[in-house]
Structure formats: C-alpha cells, structure tokens
C-alpha cells in the first residue's frame, strides 16, 4: 500500500526486525504532586494558578522547602521534561520577593541555554507582575546594557566562561551583585566533569572568595541528569555540603528503547555491518514519513557523513534544507538558526554530536537514533530524552558499533536499564588547573599569608609565582604584579589553549571562517590533504599553517574520507603508588607522553576500503600527565614471539581501555591506552593507560583503585564475545592465522593478573 505510515506502524515493523536484540518499554508514569508550600509567597501561587498549575511536582516542592525554609544547598536530579526550572526559579523569586535587594546568579554550560532560560523566567516574572530584573550577560550583551545588568540585575544569567573571564576579574564593577548574592544556580551539573568540571570547580572557588570579600555567602542550587554521584559531584564542585533532591514527581510518556545490533557480515572476523549505514536506513524510514527525528553520532566526521547520506536517501520526500547537521565548530548564528527551525518544524531531521544533548530548546521530537553507544549511560538518557519530551509515545533506537564498548553494553542491557549509572569525576586540585586559577584569584584579590583557597593550602604555589615574578610579596600579602590579564590565557573548555581556525577559500574573493578546532584534534583532522566535512560538504585542507594556527580548506567532491595515525611514546617520570595484581605489577604515577601524527589513509566512503595514504609533517606534541602501567612478568612470556606478544598487548590495551571508560564515565578520547613490549622504566611487557590532559584529571587514579574489578570485567567480556579467536569488537584485531589464538592469549594474560 502506498501512503503514509504512522509512528505506531513503524514501531510495529521495527519489532519484527530480527536484529533488534533488546526491546525495553518504559511505561507511562503518573505524576506525583505536592501542595504549594506554606511559606510560598501568595504572588507566586497566583502566578502559578494563572498558568493552570494548582500544585507542584513532589521534587519541586522539596527543593523549595529545602532552600527557602532550610537554607540548604541542594542538588535536584531531574530527567528531561520534569519541570526542573521551577526547582530553582521558585526559591529564587521567593527570596527576591522576601528581600528585594537580594541577587541570584545562574550558570548554564552554554550561551544558548542561558538565552532560553531568560525568556522562560521573564515570562514567569511578568505573570507575577513585580519589578524583578533578569538579564543574560555574555559576549553578545551590548555595552550600554552591561552597566544596567551590573547595577540592577536581580538575576544574572551567564555561563562559567563569562564568570571566569568577564565577571570575577572585574568584580569591582559588580559590587551590588556580590554584596547581595543569595543564590547561585548551577544547571546541567553533570556536564561539569573532567577537565571542564575541574576548571569550573576552581571558578566556583574564586566566586566564593569574592563573595566572602563582599560579605555574602550564597547557597547553591544544582540540577543534574541521572548520574551515580550527583551529590558527590555537586559537593566537589561547590565545596559545600549539599542535600540531594531525587523524588522526581513528573509524569512520563510511554517510551520504547530499542537496542539494534547490525548483522554480522564477516563470520570469522565477527565484523558487523557498519552502524552508520544502519542508522542511515533506520532514520530514513522515519524521515520519509516526515516524523521529526534526531540522530546522534559521536564524532564530527560521522555527523557529516550521516548528514550527506540522509540528505541523499530522502531527497525525494524532503528538501536538503529539511535535514541539518549540528555540532561544535559551527558558528553560533548558524546554530541558533537550526534550533529555531527545529522548533518550528521546518527542519524535520537533525544529525548532531552530543552538542544537542544539553537542554537547548529544540522542541519535541518523536524519534531518536543513536549511532553507537554515546559513551556513558547519562549521555544516553540525555540523548534519549530528546525524543518525546512531552509525555507522548516515542522511540529511541541505539545502533551498536562493532567496537568492544558497544558490544559490551549490548551484551549487558541490564547495565544500561537496571544498573547504576556512571560516576562523574573532577580533579579540581590538578596542579596545572589549580595554578591557572590561583593566578586569576590573585589578580582579583591579593592573597594573605595564612589564606587558603577554599580549604587548599596554597602558600607554596604563591611562593613559586612570586619567584616567577607574577606576584609580589609585601607585608605578608601577595599582590598581582604583571601586566597580563590571566583569565584571557585560560580556557575552561579545552586542554589546548589555542584553536585552529578553519578558513574556506573556495571563493577567491570571499574567504570565510567556517569553524575552529582544538590543536590536538587538528593534528589528525586538519593536516594537509585531510578531508574535512562541514555541513555535509567535503573540504580538502590545502594548507595547515601550524604556526599561525590556520587551516585553509577548499570545497571538493571526492569519494573518500581520511583517517590519520597518531604515534605515541611514553616515559614514566615518577611512581606514586604501586600494588601487585596477580603475577603482574600495577603502578600509578607521573608520565610524559609525546604524540606525533605520522600518516593518514584515504578510505572509500562506500566500501570503507583503503585507497591510498600520505605522510603528515607536524611537530610532536608533549603531554605531562598521570597514568597507570600494568607490567606483566617477562618470565611467563619468554616463549612468545615478540611480534605475537605485541599483538597480545594491543589486545589487552584495547579491551582494558574500553572497560575502563565505562567504569569511570569518560570519553575514549579522555583515556588513552598504549602497549609496549619492553617498557623503558621496567623492561617488562607493559600496557599503559593515561589521562589525556596535562596533569591528569583523576581517571587513571580511579582506575588504579578499581583495577581488580576492571580486569575481572574484561575477562568476562572476552568470554562473552561470540567470536572464537578474537575480533575487532573484543581485542581490536582478528586473532586467527599464524599467531595462534590471540583471544585465548589475551585472556590468559589478564587472568594472570587476577590470581592473588
């Protein structure tokens, strides 16, 4: 039959598909209400009633009471569409009604979210009909408005980057805010992890220091998606005791969560059909029926590839413009435009990196397709929340990659649906990050001997900075004495401070900047001759000017993409901790990593076959970080040929890296693994895992502590993988051939680490 298929029909079709390995139905859930709290101002109650709200969800009421009556710091765990904004807007407005001088500071991880929130809270304030001023303060705020925001903004809505580089260093212009600051709202708490979180925790330390100077002591209200340790994370981030609010009372619509494992196309190698292709087919089925669909993919490159394929697949039904890409690297205006057209329904499909995971308002979509496991359970649920935000039926389809992480998740759906979500970590005492923010703090306000930095002893570092002539010590105080503005040299977002600007020179008369990228990614993505995709259009890098950090690209139309190799060397500087793991030795400490891009391959789009390669000439990058080394006893491995041993170690590195990433909730790019047949420091066959950020962000330290469990999980995983001698999904390479059963060897070596 010709004609339109409904969402229900498409769901039914999907149910019959043999490659669906798990079908999880999340039933509708009734709302749990609580009456308006006693203490709530009548004006607020009236405004809520005007909106048709006669009672609060349970968690909203708890949040209000804890903050207003209990004066407590709170963290509210709020899934998508659970009315989290009322969790902070109600207490904040109440406080301003109680005391008209009082101020609040809202921090959102991105500018776009801040804009969204401003419109929302202003609507509400209008309904209450009181003179509360709320403003966003970001790079786009015009100079004449800035004055007003500083002096008269009851609620200042901004992001951590602005707080770091524009507000705190200019605190003398914000005296009325800091003297009267009663509430700090930190939305999307779970995004503050890793390097970014560690930076932001230090910005909060600085904020508290300035508040103390002006005599205020604000309470913190955080909201977070579901993670294992929301309370721990918020206490780390704010340095305060925090009460957890997790009695979510919001209703939920029916949701189908489907795990889809693509068919095996090569039995021996256990290679599955490319997830990208499967995603294209599934998404196209929905898009053809004009059902609004979002596709999440992990890398910028894959976003662009899927986008161009989808546009091709549904060109009969939809115009090119109806399907858009969305990722970091697009310029802000372009992103705002895409968000608008999603809300209006003009755009039917969007292909995105995790950039759209955050609460940017793009309205309500019906279907979410994920290309591979997004790397963490929390991320998965955030992405899934993009479909069916407002209570109606929706479907989420996760399509597995062949990689071990995905296959591991698909083997253990209980991990996903029942088990505890991951832990978000920060390491705010990372020495490099700490020193950065101490400089900023000293710029803002001199340190006095005996002062701590929110509890951290810092005299030694201040002495060091005085020796470096950044500070000047005088009468037991350290004064900033340098003509630099430290916050400008410190970016909260990325390890590398400098970004490579991407310049499109397709049109000679009109060169234009189309995006930017951090230097470390640029090594492998913007080298000479690399194919760089932007909004589905292929560009070839004609020249990468490394000194000037500019990549000149030109539009091309070729049938391949490029993939670059990174050669890595490791040097152990100092061992801080060590312990025996079975017959092997596990060490944790300081390491120096040098990375160099070596060659790139050209890979055909259709078949993924290698059709050529070339060298990359870029300078070596150095990284001083923390890592662990797992060294195996050489005497047990004497009989093994060196080449084979190398393969075995690669296999171990592969499986350990993936299992560890699941454990510590980090991206594969945050935690690298390197095998060495004869490590310099120990002369033993060794596998290293290290944090890919200067000074480390606490990942390897956690792994050191949990290594027993990680090894056990790795061994289980190898047992469960259906291949016989190893495959790309478990040990990263096919194990058959003259090297013997690789999978067995890997497992044997790992098991050796378990026997105590």
């Amino acid at each position: 039959m010709f004609g339109k298929k409904s969402l229900q029909e498409l769901i039914a079709e999907l149910k019959r598909d043999e490659h669906v390995t798990h079908w999880h139905q999340i039933p509708e859930e009734e709302a749990k209400y609580a009456p308006f709290p006693e203490a709530m101002n009548e004006k607020i109650k009236a405004a809520l009633r005007k909106r048709g709200i006669d009672s609060l969800y349970k968690h909203q009421a708890s949040a209000f009471e804890a903050v207003v009556s209990g004066k407590k710091n709170i963290t509210a765990v709020t899934p998508t569409a659970s009315g989290k904004t009322l969790c902070y807007n109600l207490p904040v407005i109440q406080r301003i009604l109680d005391k008209p001088d009082s101020r609040a500071l809202y921090l959102f991880p991105t500018k776009a979210l801040a804009q969204d929130q401003k419109s929302e809270i202003n609507e509400f304030i209008d309904e209450i009909d009181v003179g509360i001023n709320s403003y966003t303060y970001d790079g786009d705020t015009p100079a004449n408005i800035r004055q007003i925001v500083r002096k008269a903004g009851h609620i200042v809505i901004t992001n951590p980057d602005m707080l770091h580089s524009a507000i705190l260093p200019h605190h003398t212009k914000w005296i009325s805010l800091f003297e009267n600051l009663e509430t700090v709202v930190i939305d999307e708490l779970h995004t503050y992890r890793g390097v970014f979180g560690s930076h932001v925790a230090n910005v909060v330390r600085r904020l508290k220091r300035i508040c103390k100077y002006y005599g205020s002591n604000p309470t913190f209200i955080c909201t977070s998606a579901t993670i294992a340790n929301p309370r721990e994370l918020s206490e780390e981030l704010t340095g305060e005791n925090v009460q957890l609010i997790d009695n979510n009372g919001a209703p939920k619509g029916k949701k189908h969560f489907v795990l889809y494992n693509p068919p095996v196309v090569n039995k021996q190698l256990n290679i599955r059909k490319s997830s990208t292709r499967v995603v294209n087919e599934i998404a196209a089925n929905f898009l053809k029926e004009k059902i609004q669909t979002i596709v999440f993919s992990r890398s910028r490159v894959s976003v662009e590839i899927i986008l161009s394929h989808l546009q091709e697949l549904v060109k009969k039904e939809l115009s090119r413009k109806s399907i858009r890409g969305y990722r970091g690297g697009y310029l802000p205006n372009q992103r705002r435009e895409i968000e608008r057209s999603l809300r209006s329904g003009e755009t039917v499909g969007v292909v995105s990196t995790n950039a759209l995971e955050l609460g940017v308002d793009i309205g309500q979509l019906q279907v979410c397709v994920m290309n591979g496991y997004p790397g963490s359970v929390a991320s998965s649920w955030q992405q899934a929340g993009r479909a069916g935000r407002r209570q109606d039926e929706s479907v989420v389809i996760m399509v597995a990659n062949s990689n071990p992480l995905d296959q591991y998740i698909f083997q253990h759906p209980e991990f996903f649906f029942g088990g505890s979500p991951e832990t978000a970590r920060i390491n705010k005492d990372n020495l490099i990050i700490l020193v950065d923010h101490l400089k900023c703090a000293a710029y803002e306000l001199p340190f006095e001997r005996g002062d701590s930095f929110d509890g951290v002893e810092v005299e030694e570092i201040l002495d060091y900075l005085a020796e470096e002539r950044v500070l000047h010590e005088m009468k037991n105080k350290w004064f900033w004495m340098n003509d630099a503005f430290p916050a400008h040299n410190i970016s909260l977002r990325s390890a590398a401070q400098e970004n490579v600007v991407i310049i499109d020179q397709t049109y000679v008369e009109k060169h234009r900047v189309i995006g930017e990228m951090d230097t470390f990614s640029a090594l492998t993505l913007l080298h000479d001759e690399a194919i760089y995709l932007h909004e589905g259009v292929q560009h070839q890098v004609e020249y990468l000017d490394w000194d000037e950090k500019k990549a000149y690209v030109r539009e091309v139309d070729v049938e391949y993409f490029t993939d670059a190799n990174l050669a890595v060397q490791l040097k152990v500087l100092e061992i801080d901790k060590e312990k025996q793991a079975g017959n092997s030795m596990l060490e944790y400490g300081d390491m120096m990593v040098t990375a160099m891009a070596t060659i790139f391959k050209k890979i055909k789009l259709e078949t993924f076959e290698n059709i050529g390669s070339g060298p990359i000439h870029l300078p070596e990058q150095e990284l001083h970080t923390n890592g662990i080394a797992l060294s195996f006893p050489p005497e047990e491995l004497e009989d093994i040929d060196e080449k084979v041993l190398e393969q075995i170690l690669i296999g171990i590195a592969h499986v350990l890296q993936h299992v560890s990433c699941v454990r510590v909730m980090c991206d594969k790019n945050d935690l690298h693994a390197v095998p060495e047949v004869k490590a310099v420091h120990s002369q033993k066959p060794t596998v290293f895992l290290y944090d890919r950020y200067p000074g480390g962000i606490g990942l390897s330290e956690t792994i050191f502590k949990q290594m027993d469990a990680i090894i056990a999980e790795a061994v289980d995983y190898l047992y469960a993988c259906p291949c016989e001698e190893g495959c790309p999904s478990c040990i990263g390479v096919a194990g058959a051939g003259d090297k013997g059963n690789m999978k067995k060897s890997v497992r044997k070596l790992l098991k050796g680490c378990m026997e105590n």
Binding site: H170, T172, D436, F479, M481, N482, D483, F485, Q497
Partner: protein
C-alpha cells in the same frame, strides 16, 4: 614529590604570562641606572628601609595614612616663555567657551579655570580588571603663580589606602577632569581601585569630565595614522620630547622598582607623566582655538570639515557653515565634501536654489565627483522643480558614479540599489508623460 618540584617539572605546561616586548629595553634602562649609581649595593634586608629618603631625592614627600605611606610632589612651572603664551591662550578660549551659548563636549563654561584638572595615570597593565593597579596619578592645574603639577605615587601595593586618600585630599567635587582616554580607561580604573579601599577613604566625588581623545579623533582620525597622544603632540602641537620613556614601559619599570626598591627606576616614567598632563593643557587650548577660528597657523580642509560636522551634530549649524565655507576655500581633498555639506545645510533651511548651486559646485571641483551630490540634485529636480528629465539625468549620473566605485562594500551596494530604483521610477514618470 613536593609541589614546587612538581611545578618545576610541569613548567612546560604552565602558561607563562606574556611580558611586553620592551622587556629588554626596560632592563637596559635599569642597568644604566645601576651603573650610574656605581654599584651602590645594598643587602636585601636593608633594601627599602631608606625608601622615604630616596623618594626625597626626587622631591617626593611621604604621605602617611593609617600606617601606610604613599609619596607625592608638587612642581610649579612659572608662566614664562611658552607657558606664558599657553596661559593667555587658555584664558581666551576659556572666555570664549563662557560667552557662547552652546552645549558642547569640550565646553568649559561655568568651570573656573583653576578647577580644570588635566589628568593622567600610569598603571601596571592595560587590562581594566581588578588586578591592574594604578601606581601614579598626576594632574596639572593653571594657578595664579603658574602651572602646578601634582603627582601621587603608590610606594608599594600594600599602601593603596594612603595613595587614594592622598589623592582625594586634593580633589573636590568642583573639579573638572580633562583627560586623554580617561572616560574609558583612567577613570574606571580609579573607580575600581577606590572600590578596594572604599571602607577606609571618602567617596569619590561626582565630577565633570572632558575626554580629549574623543576630540582628537573627531578632528584628526583621517589625517593621522593613530590618535595616540605622542603622535598628536608631534604632528599637531609641535611638542618634541627628548629622551622620553614610553608609557608602555610603565608596568615593567614599576615591577623593577618594587623588586629593587629604587625610585630612580621610575624617574623616567614620572617625567613622562608630568609632560603628559602639561601637554593636555596645550591640547585643550589648541583644539579650542581651531574651533573658534583663532588658530593662526593654517588649518587643513579636513579639520574644518570635521569641526563643521561636529558643530552640526551639537546643534550649531551656523558655526558649522562657517567651517564648511573655510574648507571649501582651501585646496586639497575635501572641497567637494564641503560644498556638498553646505548644500545639505542650505537645503534644510529651505534655500533650494543656493543648495543646488553648492551641489553643482561640489561636482565641479573634483575629478572624481561625489555620487551623493548627483543624488541630491536628482531629488531637488524631482521633488522641488518637478523636472523629471533633469532628475533622470542626475540619477543616471549618480548610478554610473556608484557603479564605478573600486570597492563594492555593503553600503555602496545599498546605494546602488536605491539609485537603480530612482532611475527606474523616474524613467517610468518620463514615459508616462510622453
């Protein structure tokens, strides 16, 4: 591992604060000073204990406040030679400002001459944040006996209250600041520093403020490569400085002073600041003289044009007209603009015929006519004279002129669109008549 050794090891990853390029120059100056002092070495413990005596050598007196000390000095320059001319210039422009009924950003009406405070600061950096300190505040006043230059020095960063208090003692709400870029830099910076000691010192009074950078930009932005004070001095005030210490070296010299506790290191920058505030007096007089046409040495057409434009914007078209007429009489670029502006002013007053004459003159004096003049002629022909064929002719000329522009900026593109519309409308009107 101790934190310090860890820091040493990680030094490669730690960002070093960029020092200004002239670090070497600063060290050179310091070395010269050290050599001149012929190895008058002191041990570190003694360093600084005799600071007041050392400051006294530069004529700075200590100013004590709540256990803190800052340093200040007053220097008088009698009204003789150049300064005598300066005094009479200032008196005459001051009288002029007081006699004309006009609100103008440069006006010193109702401000007694001796309350004008020609003001400049030296800071530890160019950023405007809380970590940027002022270490030198200087200002000049015209008193009976001569020009008085007062300077306050922050002897050490822990004496900011004494520094600010000393300054506030000398400063009252009747004072009127005259600065160079003070509205966006120096004064906000004073406010920021004041905030740190606001509990201990009086409030900053409200005051009037003339920023001469704005005026200099008005007059000379097209003529000068930049409107930095040193360039304006050289090109427009014929002030020559010898052995001047550039202001950009102020931060590094001050950091050296703090480490060495030797005021001599700052003598160059103190001299620089002294010269700066006196230059501001001259600048005020010279700009005012150009405004009231008492400047004798010959103004450029561009200056007249810019001043005329400024008067137009401050609601004084008659004064604007005088300057435009002066500009139109001078050779060089700008004549066509002058006639064009005169035309516009006359058109506004309703004198269409004279306006037309001036637009025609604007087109006649230049080999690369001004498309706007054609457009104005077209408008007059169309709306006032109802002469559509002339209007059509003129608008065609405007369009051609625009199309031959070498640079097609967005603005020009819009003008072209408008001109095309006019041409097609007029050709329609002509067709209708036929």
């Amino acid at each position: 591992m101790s934190i310090k050794s860890k820091l040493q090891r990680m030094k490669g990853h730690l960002k070093t604060e960029k020092q200004a390029d002239n670090q070497d120059a600063a060290h050179e100056i310091k070395n010269q000073i050290n050599n001149a002092e012929t190895n008058n070495k002191q041990d570190n413990a003694k360093k600084g204990s005799d600071l007041p005596e050392k400051w006294e050598k530069l004529d700075f007196q200590p100013f004590d406040f709540e256990g803190e000390t800052s340093f200040q000095r007053k220097v008088y320059y009698p009204f003789a030679g150049e300064n005598k001319t300066l005094k009479s210039d200032m008196e005459s422009v001051h009288t002029w400002w007081n006699n004309i009924e006009m609100d103008h950003p440069l006006s010193s009406r109702d401000v007694p001459l001796e309350r004008m405070m020609f003001f400049d600061t030296e800071t530890t950096g160019l950023s405007t944040g809380a970590g940027n300190s002022i270490f030198l505040i200087g200002y000049a006043r015209l008193l009976e006996e001569g020009i008085e230059v007062t300077q306050h020095i922050l002897g050490d960063p822990a004496s900011e209250a004494a520094f600010m208090y000393g300054f506030l003692q000398e400063f009252s709400k009747d004072d009127y600041l005259v600065s160079y870029n003070g509205k966006s830099f120096d004064w906000p910076q004073v406010k920021s520093r004041h905030a740190f000691v606001r509990e201990r010192v009086p409030k900053l009074p409200a005051f009037g403020h003339i920023d001469l950078l704005h005026a200099a930009r008005r007059l000379w932005k097209h003529e000068l490569p930049s409107c930095r004070l040193s360039i304006v001095e050289q090109e427009k005030l014929s002030v020559r400085r010898e052995n001047d210490t550039p202001g950009s070296m102020a931060p590094l010299l001050y950091f050296d002073y703090l480490n060495e506790k030797d005021p001599e290191i700052l003598s160059g920058i103190i001299e620089h600041n002294d010269q700066d505030v006196r230059s501001l007096i001259k600048l005020y007089a010279e700009i005012s003289k150009r405004l009231n046409l008492t400047y004798q040495e010959g103004m450029t057409a561009m200056e007249h044009l810019q001043i005329g434009h400024w008067f137009e914007q401050t609601g004084s078209p008659s004064r604007a007209l005088v300057h435009y007429e002066k500009a139109s009489g001078l050779s060089g670029s700008g004549r066509e603009k002058a006639y064009h502006r005169i035309g516009l002013l006359l058109k506004k007053e309703g004198d269409i015929n004279s306006a037309k004459e001036n637009f025609l003159r604007a087109l006649a004096v230049s080999s690369t006519p001004f498309p706007d003049s054609w457009t104005e002629l077209a408008k007059i022909a169309e709306h006032q004279e109802k002469n559509f064929s002339d209007a059509y002719k003129y608008s065609r000329q405007a369009l051609e002129q625009l199309k031959s522009s070498t640079r097609l900026t967005g603005g020009v593109k819009k003008q072209i669109e408008a001109a095309e519309k006019r041409v097609s409308r007029l050709s329609g009107k002509l067709d209708g008549k036929r």
